[in-house]
């Protein structure tokens, strides 16, 4: 297991290299002009001289390869550079926001997995039963519904109609102190919406996996030995039925990140979403590169995690495979 982890880490280095170069190349080919993005509306009344000065100061006229190499060499030494759009060092921008995004994404992910698994197992027990039909229909509907729309709907219902949960932000608008209670109550809606929007995949995979497993020989054998239905379901069918879902955990991470971007915007959650969107549209090379490295790392870690879990759940799969 340690060997596999180590080998994956080694493999991650060239992947990150290629991805950062890709980001620089795409950003360089982007039709957006970093100078216009930096200047904003002030740029529309600025003189050409001011705009040219900005272009030189921001280093926008540099060629792609030297610019990437310069970023890479200083990034390796720990200097991520300055974000032009945020007017701050990149490291500051990220540390300030990352924690909140991780909190939101982790809570939602855990919620999606727990809810999806529980409902999936329950539905697989009686395929075609009322629970299966009801939840499956809801799952397909949720899968088709855009996350931001669900967010708006949730705000309308829980904040406006029932007035039980806050509509957005990290704390009450009038409060400057971040307390556990405040964050917890403000986390409920965005995490629930994000979790519920991710849930259908897990639900459908678990339901299918467990339902298939219930038809297999080991289950028939277990039933033949007279084991209780509960033991059959939870110890035999569930464990082998969960396997496809473990793969899913890794592959859902990118989806989770993009979902979080939309949810953060809807709920004014102070995570990295706004920074990501701004970095992309204003071609802020250093910030964009750092955020992409982070997202890539999250995907790689997600894949590693799902492979490790796979090894744990299925004895047939080795760690060195």
């Amino acid at each position: 297991m340690a060997r596999m982890t180590g080998r994956r880490m080694l493999f991650a280095a060239p992947v990150l290299l290629v991805v950062t170069f890709g980001v620089f190349a795409v950003a360089a080919a982007s039709p957006f002009d970093p100078v216009k993005a930096y200047a904003g509306t002030a740029g529309l009344t600025a003189s050409q001289e001011t705009l040219d000065q900005l272009r030189a100061n921001l280093g926008v006229d540099q060629a792609l390869v030297p610019r990437w190499w310069e970023w890479l060499t200083s990034a390796v030494t720990g200097d991520l550079g300055d974000s032009s759009v945020m007017r701050r060092p990149v490291a500051d921008v990220i540390t300030e926001r990352l924690g909140w995004s991780v909190l939101l994404a982790t809570t939602a992910f855990v919620l999606a997995i727990l809810l999806g698994t529980a409902l999936g197992v329950a539905a697989a027990r009686r395929p075609g039963g009322w629970l299966d039909r009801g939840v499956s229909a809801a799952a397909y509907t949720l899968e088709a519904a855009p996350a931001f729309w669900l967010g708006l709907l949730a705000i309308w219902f829980f904040a406006l109609r029932l007035d039980v949960l806050p509509a957005g932000g990290l704390t009450d608008s009038g409060s400057d102190i971040v307390t556990f209670g405040q964050v917890a109550s403000h986390l409920v809606l965005p995490a629930a919406v994000l979790g519920v929007s991710q849930m259908p995949w897990f639900y459908l995979y678990v339901r299918q996996g467990v339902a298939d497993a219930l038809e297999e020989d080991p289950v028939r054998g277990a039933r033949a030995r007279g084991l209780s239905e509960r033991t059959v379901l939870l110890s035999h069918a569930w464990r082998s039925g969960m396997l496809p879902m473990l793969t899913l955990i890794g592959s859902r991470v990118p989806e989770l990140i993009t979902g979080a971007l939309l949810i953060e915007t809807v709920f004014s959650w102070p995570g990295i979403a706004a920074a990501t969107v701004q970095a992309a549209t204003s071609v802020d090379f250093p910030l964009l590169a750092a955020l992409t490295v982070l997202a890539t790392a999250a995907v790689l870690v997600g894949n590693l995690l799902s492979d490790l879990l796979y090894g744990l759940a299925d004895p047939r799969v080795g760690f060195d495979g």
Partner: protein
């Protein structure tokens, strides 16, 4: 390693990383709240978040920055008043030297005194080529700024510039803080130290900016002790949170503000603005550059209908950058909608209607493209309405959407639906839109408008320190523009705000195109008082 022990390890690692995340997220200030419940506080929802809170990078350049003060400030009637200066500046007869005497009782929020050196530092840093301040063009008239003594600052200009005093509402940064760090990315950009009525408590990026009253403010402590600006980019969500009682006030588009019309607990404010929408008619386009076509379009367009239908009545017809309710507007230059007159102008100039209803002259078809900014619904609506009005006069305008990157290289020959507007002085918009010297310079004079009479009057207007002489000069500009309308000005747009009426009747200033933190009924939040 057995599966069981590995499972244990993984579980422990997961639990550990979750706990770490939770710790990393907790704010060091947690739980140290003073909990004073009866303090006056206000929360407003805004659509815009500043990139930086540093005046050196352009924050608060039009005043009302809450955290800083300028040498001068603008009051509710849009008159200049001294702020950090003790009086309005003394201007020499040639209009080239401005002398400001400063207050000697002002301290920055860190306790250090404010002096002339800070003023010199602020202006010199902004004008430095290494400072990434996109608004520095506004200070282009400055030749040099010097501190004559501790409390006197002297600006010398490159040319006589009558509106200069208006530019000195620009906030002053402390040299002893901002001078010691990188101006473009130092911590001062998000942790400002100023002289203003408020101190920054917290800036949670993308969520809100919180202020608390500066107890030692030289102008008297603010009545609203806690002031929060919640950053909510989506109009619908802002309206929802206002309705849910989370906000005391918010900026809203007219169609959403309508929903609050019958709300007895809230008041709607329409701030008049200089925020214009116009169509550039490029001089280098064979059709749009023709004076007859320009004049025909100017009367063919139905501005009143645009105000009613596109703006829901929240705005007024525009005939130039100067709004019709401004003291600088030249009465009698209004051009009412008159389709018959448009046809007559075109007929007389030789533009004959062809088979498809589009006019031609000397083999040139009366047709040109009109670009608007992708995703800007307001500009799109204006562009479509304009094209449909032009069609009735036999001019075929093809509307196209694009980003500025797509539009910019085409501005010399293609029409653009542009917006802008800076109140304060008639020079600001008219000079940059109409002066032929600025044709194609950045986004200034996008139509490459070239009219010697206008150029001359614009120079007189900005150089003369005498108000009647300036008024006469700008009258000339507006009359010339009516004769050769190189832009079709369409509307001036009101900005709509909805605020709880517990705050009584509030006021608004005349607002610019770019309505950031400084605008809205909260321009003077430090003086708000609840009605008993």
């Amino acid at each position: 390693m057995t599966a069981r022990s590995i499972r244990g390890t993984v579980a422990a690692a997961l639990a550990g990383s979750l706990a770490l995340t939770a710790v990393a997220c907790s704010n060091p200030d947690s739980g140290s709240g003073d909990g004073g419940g009866d303090q006056e506080s206000a929360v407003v929802g805004i659509a815009y978040e500043p990139d930086s809170l540093s005046p050196l990078l352009g924050y608060g350049k039009d005043g009302n920055s809450k955290l800083f003060d300028g040498l001068l400030t603008v009051d509710g009637d849009m008159n200049l008043k001294p702020a950090l200066a003790s009086a309005l500046p003394e201007v020499t007869a040639d209009g080239m030297t401005y002398t400001y005497r400063l207050r000697d009782d002002v301290k920055f929020s860190d306790g250090k005194p404010f002096s002339a050196a800070d003023v010199v530092f602020t202006y010199r840093t902004i004008l430095d080529p290494g400072t990434n301040n996109p608004s520095k063009t506004e200070l282009a008239a400055i030749e040099d700024v010097t501190a004559k003594d501790e409390n006197t600052v002297v600006f010398t200009l490159k040319y006589p510039y009558a509106p200069f005093a208006q530019r000195t509402v620009l906030p002053i940064a402390p040299e002893h803080v901002a001078g010691k760090q990188d101006v473009n990315s130092g911590p001062f950009t998000s942790k400002p130290v100023g002289t203003g009525p408020y101190l920054l408590t917290n800036w949670s990026k993308g969520e809100k900016i919180s202020f608390k009253a500066n107890p030692d403010y030289w102008g008297g402590e603010a009545t609203v002790k806690k002031f929060t600006m919640a950053i909510i980019k989506d109009d619908d969500i802002r309206a929802t949170r206002l309705r849910a009682g989370d906000l005391d006030g918010a900026i809203l588009p007219p169609n959403l503000a309508k929903g609050f019309k019958d709300d007895k607990g809230r008041k709607t404010y329409a701030a008049t603005t200089y925020d214009y929408r116009t169509v550039t008619l490029p001089t280098h386009n064979k059709v749009a550059g023709d004076t007859a076509v320009r004049r025909a379009l100017d009367v063919a367009v139905d501005r009143e209908t645009m105000v009613d239908k596109i703006l829901d009545g929240a705005g007024r017809a525009a005939y130039g950058p100067v709004p019709t309710d401004s003291e600088w507007f030249t009465k009698g230059t209004e051009r009412p909608h008159d389709l018959a007159k448009a046809g007559k102008i075109l007929d007389e100039a030789g533009w004959r209607t062809g088979e498809d209803g589009v006019r031609t002259k000397d083999g040139v078809r009366a047709s040109f493209p009109l670009w608007y900014l992708t995703g800007d619904k307001l500009r799109q609506d204006h562009a479509l309405a304009y094209a449909s009005d032009a069609k009735k006069a036999g001019i075929d305008i093809k509307t196209q959407a694009g980003t500025w990157e797509v539009i910019e290289p085409r501005m010399k020959t293609d029409a653009v639906l542009a917006g802008g507007g800076a109140p304060g002085d008639p020079d600001f918009d008219q000079f940059s839109l109409l002066n032929s010297g600025l044709a194609g310079d950045g986004f200034n004079n996008m139509a490459w408008y070239d009219n010697p009479a206008v150029d001359k009057a614009l120079d007189t207007g900005r150089e003369s320190g005498d108000k009647p002489a300036r008024k006469a000069a700008y009258d000339t500009v507006q009359r010339e523009l009516a004769k050769d309308p190189g832009y079709t000005f369409l509307t001036h747009i009101d900005h709509i705000y909805v605020v709880n009426d517990t705050w009584g009747t509030l006021t608004t200033q005349v607002e610019p195109h770019d309505h950031g933190l400084a605008s809205g009924p909260w321009w003077n939040v430090e003086k708000w008082a609840r009605t008993p």
